[in-house]
């Protein structure tokens, strides 16, 4: 602690003073705008007004590339990271994100040097951890609303918006599907995919773009009476192929739709 105070005194003339932890930063964005609960944004291919309700996602399988070699990153354990799984949590429980929680987490906290020229991660939770009993797990794997059930496991993403045009919610829940209730852990579709980004984590960070995820969706059209707007990873979910595609994921056995656009590298750590 004293060491940091000293370092801070020395560098505090120009820099924000915090311990130089080994973190890889993320920023939540809607296009070029910063994401915030309580703000209103134009989204979808008809530029429809929405307000956020939730923005959380699990990442795992984090790797760093050094000298051309991918190595598994060892992650710190804290309330948002456990056993190699990270929960990015951009919602603040304020301004429409009522059913969330106040704490946020917008970094991957690595327990080693982060000198690297690229990062890779998987959106989601490893199959071996996805079908545990969430109630008895350590944070961040014990959050009730991020969990479906034993059979289906966790929601890898819970990104929800209020569609102001038609006064309905729109849900984006990625997770494993077609899972057996008899043989727990056996799912036909894992909906996991690896994202690779070239970056220097000490000088650059990763933008997670809500607008990119929704770019294929027409929010101006009301869904059929008994259909719920959104992608919740179930069969015949019309919004899913393109929305999963934006995260670099294939929906079910279909070929990936479009390019991975939801994550991009931005300057500044």
């Amino acid at each position: 602690m004293r060491v940091w105070v000293l370092v801070c005194v020395i560098v505090s003339t120009s820099l924000a003073c915090a311990p130089a932890s080994n973190t890889i930063g993320f920023t939540a964005q809607v296009g070029e705008l910063p994401f915030a609960c309580g703000q209103s944004y134009a989204m979808g291919n008809a530029s429809t007004q929405v307000t956020p309700l939730d923005f959380r996602m699990y990442l795992s399988g984090v790797q760093l590339r050094r000298d051309g070699q991918w190595e598994d990153a060892t992650l710190a354990d804290n309330n948002f990271q456990h056993d190699g799984v990270v929960l990015l949590d951009f919602e603040t429980s304020q301004g429409g994100c009522d059913n969330g929680s106040p704490d946020t987490h917008s970094v991957i906290d690595v327990a080693q040097d982060i000198e690297a020229d690229a990062i890779a991660f998987v959106v989601g939770i490893p199959a071996s951890m996805n079908h545990l009993d969430a109630t008895t797990q350590s944070p961040p794997l014990n959050i009730p609303s991020m969990y479906w059930s034993w059979a289906d496991g966790y929601k890898y993403t819970k990104i929800d918006v209020r569609n102001e045009a038609i006064d309905q919610d729109f849900f984006f829940h990625v997770g494993a599907s077609d899972c057996s209730t008899d043989d727990v852990g056996s799912c036909v579709n894992r909906h996991e995919g690896r994202v690779e980004l070239e970056l220097d984590p000490r000088r650059q960070s990763i933008a997670v773009d809500l607008a990119a995820m929704w770019s294929s969706v027409n929010l101006a059209v009301e869904p059929p009476a008994n259909d719920i707007a959104g992608c919740m990873s179930f069969p015949d979910d019309a919004e899913c192929p393109a929305m999963l595609g934006s995260l670099g994921l294939q929906f079910r056995d279909q070929a990936a739709v479009g390019n991975m656009t939801a994550f991009r590298v931005v300057n500044g750590s």
């Binding site: 429980s93 109630t135 944070p139 309905q168 919610d169 008994n226 707007a229 179930f234």
Partner: protein, 352 residues
């Protein structure tokens, strides 16, 4: 540092053994307020107080008058009547697994502990409905407890004395809350199927299970997790999530969460109730307006009443009569027949 250790030992000592949780498989330790640690003495005292009508102003009702052990600690009425005849506007909720809720009662975001909750029915006074009415003449309540053969010793064990300072209203609420925290139910056929493996579900029950967790029936978004409600916290929770939803059931003029927050978007929102033991806790909804599980499923199949602000997740469902019966068959697997039957869950005055 060392001297503080000794103080801690002295404070937590009081001749009271530390509390040991006996939890069913898949259950985790509940969150317990720091200012009211669990002790066997408090639980034993709370057990008696919970069933004791002498707490009420006219010595007629106890907590158990609206929370019957055989009905998973709910009652059989749409809405209860207080000890002096006041109408209580909302259905008596089950106390099964009450230790784990992030907020208490049907729609109160600031009632976050059982201690605070217990104080409401115990001590509410007009213009709120009187339930137990202990605050109407609290000195008389204390006199009745003091004159009892057992309470002086029980309060001594639990709170270290019985005299000028004890029992306080806080002591009573703390003891009852400690007792309520022990009312844990996790021995249903569903649990034994999921954890024990000694039970098989029927084909209809399994079909209902799959429907429950499907996007067709859409039950599990709100009734998720091991207690079938997302309003769940435990000792290891580092976040507290609220779970208030407008499920399209709007009979009556109860504004729900909006009655406290005043926000238009909270109109008709209520806490997502647990579905464990749902078979035993009829009638249903915040005002007990739906008599049977069939009525509840019919409400959701209709897509609710189409209320202003109704959750987007409540939409008309395309479920056949057979599928609706299968859903109910699954809900009945959540019944814990052993819950409410132990000595600790029965009326101690009836046992004598």
């Amino acid at each position: 540092m060392k001297s503080r250790w000794w103080m801690l030992l002295l404070v937590s000592g009081c001749g009271d053994p530390p509390w040991q949780w006996q939890l069913p498989l898949g259950f985790v330790e509940p969150r317990v307020p720091e200012d009211n640690p669990m002790t066997e003495a408090k639980v034993a005292l709370g057990h008696r107080l919970f069933f004791d009508p002498r707490l009420s102003v006219n010595e007629e009702q106890s907590c158990a008058s609206c929370h019957f052990p055989e009905r998973a600690f709910s009652d059989d009425k749409a809405t209860p009547t207080g000890t002096t005849g006041d109408a209580v506007p909302r259905n008596a909720m089950t106390l099964a697994n009450a230790a784990y809720w992030s907020t208490y009662t049907w729609a109160n975001p600031v009632l976050t502990t059982l201690e605070e909750q217990a104080a409401v029915p115990l001590f509410a006074t007009h213009p709120d409905p009187i339930e137990i009415g202990a605050a109407e003449d609290f000195p008389a309540v204390v006199d009745r407890l003091q004159a009892d053969a057992d309470y002086p010793r029980l309060f001594e064990d639990a709170f270290g004395g019985f005299g000028n300072e004890v029992p306080t209203a806080t002591n009573i609420a703390q003891a009852i809350a400690s007792y309520e925290r022990t009312l844990i139910s996790g021995n249903s056929r569903y649990d034994r199927y999921s954890y024990g493996g000694d039970v098989q579900l029927t084909d209809d029950e399994r079909a209902g299970f799959s429907l429950f967790f499907s996007e067709r029936a859409e039950c599990y978004h709100c009734h998720g997790g091991s207690l079938f409600s997302t309003a769940f916290v435990s000792a290891s929770s580092t976040t507290t999530e609220r779970a208030f939803e407008n499920n399209g059931y709007g009979d009556g003029d109860d504004r729900g969460l909006a009655a406290i927050t005043g926000r238009i978007e909270d109109e008709k929102k209520f806490r997502v109730p647990t579905l464990r033991n749902i078979e035993k806790t009829a009638p249903y909804m915040h005002n007990g307006g739906l008599r049977t599980l069939e009525d509840v499923i019919a409400h959701y199949v209709r897509g609710g009443a189409g209320l202003e602000g109704q959750s987007t997740l409540v939409k008309p469902l395309d479920l056949s009569d057979v599928e609706q019966r299968q859903l109910i068959a699954f809900l009945r697997t959540l019944t814990d027949d052993t819950f409410g039957a132990t000595d600790e869950q029965q009326d101690p005055f009836a046992q004598r």
